[in-house]
């Protein structure tokens, strides 16, 4: 099957292939602000689908090459899967609401994640021996939570621009129409709650993994690891914002919720920086991390 699909040319797909597709899509989306072209929308959809195909194929081939172990084998793959998730969401929303300029906001985030993935090419891979159910829950919930926070960030930025436009009585530009404030506010609220829930699952599953690993070990759970501290801080921040949003009624609507989701994204960016630059989930360093190496577990 693999050979029928043409493994040779598929194996030549690189990060720059789909990065280029998304960059072209972004240029086309930005051009909507300035002039009308009848077939542009169809071209945007086709190029995005081509980019998604290349993106998905690249990740699939990387997973196959990893030869078993965890499906997300490195920080590079992590960033690529998050960007793929965002690209799928972008295409789905854009197809549903073609009149809105989603691409201008989604695509820079997607491209930034791909750039981070390019930079993280040399980063060490994850511990391949972590194939338990809890590590799968841990990985996927944090991944989905990251996508949700990024989505909230995009919706938050769009909300603030739309609110500014409406406050200053500026009519919508033909190529730069944004969704209604109500839609963006609902999107912000949902992503805030969803990301809190997903990161909570991620953090708790990480604790369970460590408890299982370190039971009987002298070293104990590495609570002081930078990734664990920053993840816990992000989780506490999301808990606090969710409580704030629930208890303090003015925070449920308007710009406050947009600010909260944007702040969550900034927080997430710091956490990711700590995690990627640190040794969290690494299979080479044996000092700390939620998914510490088997080597350390054995000690």
């Amino acid at each position: 099957m693999f050979s029928l699909l043409g493994a040779d040319w598929m194996s030549r797909i690189s990060l720059s292939c789909f990065a280029f597709s998304y960059a072209i899509t972004m240029i086309l989306e930005v051009s909507r602000i300035f002039f009308r072209v009848p077939v542009r929308w169809a071209i945007i959809v086709l190029i995005t689908i081509a980019g998604l195909f290349a993106h998905g194929t690249f990740i699939w081939l990387k997973m196959k090459a990893a030869d078993g172990g965890t499906p997300i084998a490195s920080w590079q793959q992590w960033c690529l899967i998050v960007s793929l998730g965002l690209a799928v969401i972008y295409l789905a929303i854009a197809l549903r609401r073609p009149e809105n300029a989603f691409g201008v906001f989604f695509l820079p985030v997607i491209l930034a994640l791909i750039l981070i993935a390019m930079a993280a090419d040399d980063a060490t891979g994850f511990d391949k021996t972590n194939t338990t159910t809890w590590s799968a829950i841990h990985g996927f919930s944090l991944l989905a939570g990251t996508i949700s926070v990024a989505l909230g960030f995009v919706a938050g930025i769009m909300y603030l621009i739309q609110a500014y436009r409406l406050k200053h009585k500026l009519p919508p530009r033909a190529g730069f129409r944004l969704p209604s404030l109500e839609w963006l506010q609902n999107c912000n609220r949902r992503t805030l709650w969803l990301s809190t829930a997903l990161l909570a699952i991620g953090l708790l599953s990480g604790i369970i993994i460590n408890v299982q690993r370190h039971s009987g070990s002298e070293a104990g759970i590495p609570w002081t690891n930078a990734a664990i501290i920053s993840s816990a801080a992000l989780f506490l921040w999301l808990i606090a914002t969710s409580i704030f949003e629930y208890v303090y009624r003015p925070a449920r609507q308007g710009q406050k919720i947009a600010y909260l989701t944007i702040a969550s994204f900034v927080f997430l960016a710091f956490v990711l920086m700590f995690v990627i630059l640190g040794d969290h989930a690494s299979n080479t360093t044996a000092t700390s991390g939620v998914e510490v190496s088997q080597q350390e577990a054995d000690t």
């Binding site: 009308r36 739309q162 436009r165 409406l166 406050k167 009585k169 009519p171 919508p172 033909a174 944004l178 969704p179 209604s180 404030l181 109500e182 839609w183 609902n186 009624r249 003015p250 449920r252 609507q253 308007g254 710009q255 406050k256």
Partner: protein, 427 residues
């Protein structure tokens, strides 16, 4: 063959004059019926709107088409007016000018508000009414169907209709719809029972708004507006509780000072928990103190804010005008070429019949002679007939080709007249 239009519009006459000549929709069939009784066989479509009263007439025979005087008499007789009082105000356009005018009108390029959508449905309705009464014919069918097609083409190929230019439509479509995703779950408060408020409300009802409250100092007027818009009339004392509950406020009172001051609103704001509020203050003087617009979560629009957008949209429409006019010109030229070509068809037919008749006579004579001589079999007869046909066709082909070319340019070289004279063709 003649197509013409005689009537008046907002460019040349005032509203009082147009009101005297206007036909109510239920009067149109009767008026056309009366017109056809005095002008049998004439195709007619009567277009009567707030901005124009125009009678389009057409006939295959130019000579029988009613004159300006006859149409003036018809208008005057129908409305009981003196023909001399209206004659000078009614202008006549014929042929290409009439077609261009029809296309321009249908595409809303001749409207008071350029690009307004209503005129197209009015032209369509006028044509359908004439059609239902059997007052139309091939020429009016061709010209009105072409006009509807041109209007649609302009709507598709230009942005002329894309920008709204009335204050209520801009308020709802350009701003309220950017604020709210849906209106069926929103509380709408209308303060005052003014005309602008009612019009805005109609746009909101079109977007499924149902929870509508109308507050007015005179509860009778509020009830009157509520009965027309399916809203709920509320006493003036309910203003504050409804301001706390409302998502969208439309204010159109005739009050000479603000009915909601900044201090008043601050009290309300606390009870709203900063829930966003969208306010369309369409009153002059304004009903909401401008400082309220600076409050967190308040989006306050005055009539001047909306008028500025309307003016901007109007200018944008004006920029689209040349493109629309180009389409009208191209379509008019195309239609006139088709119409002119159509004019030549009876003459071409007559010429062919004349040539065919000569051919038949000569062929019969020759066949008789050859039969007597016994020199022609069945195959020979057929060959001769084919030869004669080819001869006639080859002789007629160049002049008819030249005639077709000339027809596409509006018969500017007079080839049809020349053909009629050369071959002695008669009506």
């Amino acid at each position: 063959m003649k197509v013409q239009v005689i009537g008046c519009n907002h460019h040349t006459t005032d509203i009082e004059f147009r009101e005297r000549l206007a036909f109510q929709p239920n009067q149109v069939p009767d008026a056309l019926d009366r017109f056809q009784k005095t002008h049998p066989g004439i195709e007619a479509v009567l277009l009567s709107t707030c901005n124009r009263v125009e009678l389009y007439t057409a006939s295959e025979k130019s000579a029988v088409c009613p004159s300006h005087e006859e149409v003036v008499d018809f208008f005057a007789a129908y409305h009981g007016l003196n023909p001399t009082d209206i004659a000078s105000e009614l202008r006549q356009l014929s042929g290409e000018e009439a077609i261009r005018h029809l296309f321009t009108t249908a595409a809303s390029l001749d409207s008071m508000v350029v690009g307004e959508a209503q005129i197209l449905s009015q032209v369509k309705q006028a044509y359908e009414m004439a059609n239902d009464g059997d007052f139309t014919g091939p020429l009016t069918h061709a010209s009105f169907q072409a006009a509807l097609r041109v209007a649609k083409r302009i709507a598709t190929e230009t942005a002329l209709h894309k920008r709204r230019i009335s204050i209520p439509s801009v308020a709802v479509a350009d701003f309220a719809s950017q604020f709210f995703e849906r209106f069926d779950d929103k509380t709408i408060l209308v303060i005052g029972a003014g005309e602008m408020g009612e019009e805005t409300l109609q746009y909101l009802i079109d977007l499924n708004a149902t929870d509508i409250h109308i507050v007015n100092r005179s509860i009778e007027r509020a009830e009157d507006l509520a009965s027309r818009t399916a809203g709920k009339a509320q006493p003036w004392e309910m203003l504050d509780p409804l301001l706390i509950k409302a998502d969208l406020v439309v204010s159109t009172t005739g009050a000479n000072k603000p009915i909601v001051t900044i201090d008043h609103y601050k009290d309300i704001s606390q009870k709203r928990f900063q829930r966003p509020l969208f306010v369309l203050d369409l009153a002059v003087p304004r009903d909401f103190e401008p400082a309220i617009g600076d409050e967190l979560g308040v989006y306050l629009y005055s009539i001047d804010d909306l008028q500025a957008v309307c003016d901007k949209n109007q200018r944008a429409r004006q920029r689209e005008l040349p493109k629309a006019q180009e389409i009208v010109e191209a379509e008019t030229a195309k239609f006139m070429a088709e119409l002119t070509h159509r004019t030549t068809i009876p003459w071409v037919k007559q010429l062919r019949e004349q040539a065919d008749s000569i051919k038949q006579d000569e062929l019969a004579r020759l066949l008789n002679k050859l039969e007597v001589l016994g020199e022609l079999g069945e195959q020979g007869k057929k060959e001769l007939e084919v030869s004669f046909d080819r001869l006639v066709n080859k002789l007629l082909h160049p002049p008819l080709e030249s005639l077709r070319d000339d027809a596409s340019k509006g018969l500017e070289h007079g080839l049809l007249d020349a053909l009629k004279k050369l071959f002695q063709l008669r009506e």
